[in-house]
């Protein structure tokens, strides 16, 4: 009985502590992790404001697609809700890696949860298409991606593969390029 008692006593302390820890942790999670995602979500929306698409792909809706597991949850929809990009209302679409992407998306975020080979395959599929590809992986630009999020001095910045952007017949504003951490201007030899 005694150990139980002790256990009980311990449990009596532990449970509040555990609850407190859970609370604090979840609070911290709620504060830190979504901040990065919030910024990324906002960037995904804002990139659209500084990129010009060829007129044939302009529809009444500006579509931001996420391929693979969605890290944002409801955050992205909340961010784009009621906003416009170049006069178009914004919608989001979530796709699996095997769905047809071409012709439906303006901006394509490739989830970092996808294996690199899958990411590369997706990039190959949309290569040359007027779709702004955004990703998180370190090798993203080398794989032919256009914009890569980068952690830089406690904030989120981005690098641009301008060669890929141009190959996709997209036009990216110099005002964005001047903010990018780095801009890749020429095609590097593929591995």
């Amino acid at each position: 009985m005694r150990p139980f008692q002790i256990k009980q006593r311990f449990a009596g302390l532990t449970i509040p502590c555990l609850l407190l820890w859970l609370f604090v942790a979840s609070w911290a999670e709620a504060q830190t992790v979504p901040l990065e995602l919030k910024v990324k979500a906002a960037y995904l929306l804002n990139f659209g404001r500084y990129v010009r698409w060829p007129p044939e792909v302009l529809h009444e809706k500006h579509t931001i697609c996420i391929v693979g597991p969605d890290p944002f949850g409801p955050l992205l929809d909340k961010t784009v809700d009621g906003r416009e990009v170049q006069g178009h209302t914004v919608q989001t679409r979530r796709l699996s890696a095997h769905e047809t992407i071409v012709g439906t998306c303006h901006i394509l975020f490739i989830s970092p949860a996808l294996p690199l080979e899958t990411q590369a395959a997706v990039l190959r599929e949309v290569s040359g298409q007027p779709i702004l590809t955004v990703g998180d992986a370190n090798e993203f630009l080398d794989m032919g991606g256009m914009v890569k999020f980068v952690h830089y001095q406690d904030t989120i910045r981005f690098s641009v593969n301008l060669v890929a952007v141009r190959r996709a017949s997209l036009d990216m504003s110099s005002r964005v390029l001047s903010i990018a951490i780095s801009v890749r201007q020429e095609d590097l030899p593929r591995e």
Partner: protein, 464 residues
Amino acid sequence: MGYTRLPMRKQMLRIIFSAAGIALLAAAAAVLVYESSTYRPRIEREVQAITNLYVQLLPATLDFHDPQAAEQYLAALQFQPNVERVCVYESTGTWFAAYRKDLLIATCPQLIQRRSAQVYQQSRFELLAPIRREREIIGWLFVTYRLLPLYARLPQYGIMVGVVIFTLSVVSFLLWYALARYVTTPLNALARTAKHIATTYDYSIRVSKVGSDELAALTDALNLLLATTEESIRLRDDFLSIASHELKTPLTPIRTQLQLLEMLLQQKDRSDEWPEKLLRVTQLALKQVDRLTGLVDNLLDVSRITTGRLVLTRERTSLSAIVRESYERYVPEFERASTSFKASIEDNIEANIDVLRIEQVIANLLSNALKYGQNRPVELRLERVGDTARITVRDRGIGVAPQDMQRIFGRFERAASIRSFGGMGLGLYITKQIVEAHGGRITVESALGKGSTFVVEIPLATEA
């Protein structure tokens, strides 16, 4: 006032530099007025231009939350020394990025109002403008511009003013130099010539003129003066020789008559004819004395006329009577010269005249007719023409050449040569002056070798 005491070159120097100075002052005043009246609009335009630029540049930095990039953009403002501070706020009013000219400038204030505004503080101009992306306001731009007081802005003009003053001085100096040479050189030449003439009495010198301006006119005037002076000196010299000759002429017969008289008075043997001889000699001498007196009287008259002392004693007189008396007085002389002399005198013509002077006029004309009439018939006429009395003396003698018609009425002038005719050439001059003093006029019609007709017209006495 003391201006005219200075040499002309210095006067010109002062005038030119005064004009340049006044122009400079006026220009400076204009610049000041322009500067102060256009300063604020210019500042507003400048700040607006800066604002417009950054409102274009900054949205991307706000969208991707990159204050460093924003501040890099803003750092370009260091070349705008009067932009003190630029603050960028997010749409929420949170401070985002800033530019400060130096660390002494206060940091960005809190964004209180959210609407475009421009405000003049004491020494600052402040402008708040929204940063838009399409229609959405995504941030605010707050520019603080330092206003410079007028005196602080003037040094900008310092070099310009210096250059202008220098240029103006050089140009004025060159202008003055050229002008002084252009004006004073011929003036000095004129002055030198005038002085030379005054010391040497050489009136035959003429000044050569350049151009056709006022200086040339002055030169012309001086040359004309020299010509008339030379002419009047010639006339005076001629007159002196004529006058001395004329005055000398009666003296010889007078001396001869007086010697004869002396001889007669010393004669012991006085025959019966002696008193008669004595009388004739005395009369001859007296006649010459009269002639001399006449000449001196003429000279006195000329002197009176030229000095303006010819005074007429006018009274209402019968001109008919006076002309008739003159006629009768001259009849014996014409008879002695066996010249026909006729008169036609209208009665009851009256005029306000100086009797002695009018008699002198008639006598002059008649003796001229006798002298130059070559013993051909002479006519004297008095008639009423309109409201004037006309006295006409007509001879058929040597006449006057057309070119001499006006000259004969001048002082010391005679058309005929001294050798064949005596007299000093004063008669017609005096006659003309007397007639004109009476308000009348004298004219002549003549043809060389055919005789002359002198016409004197004198206003009639108005009926009282």
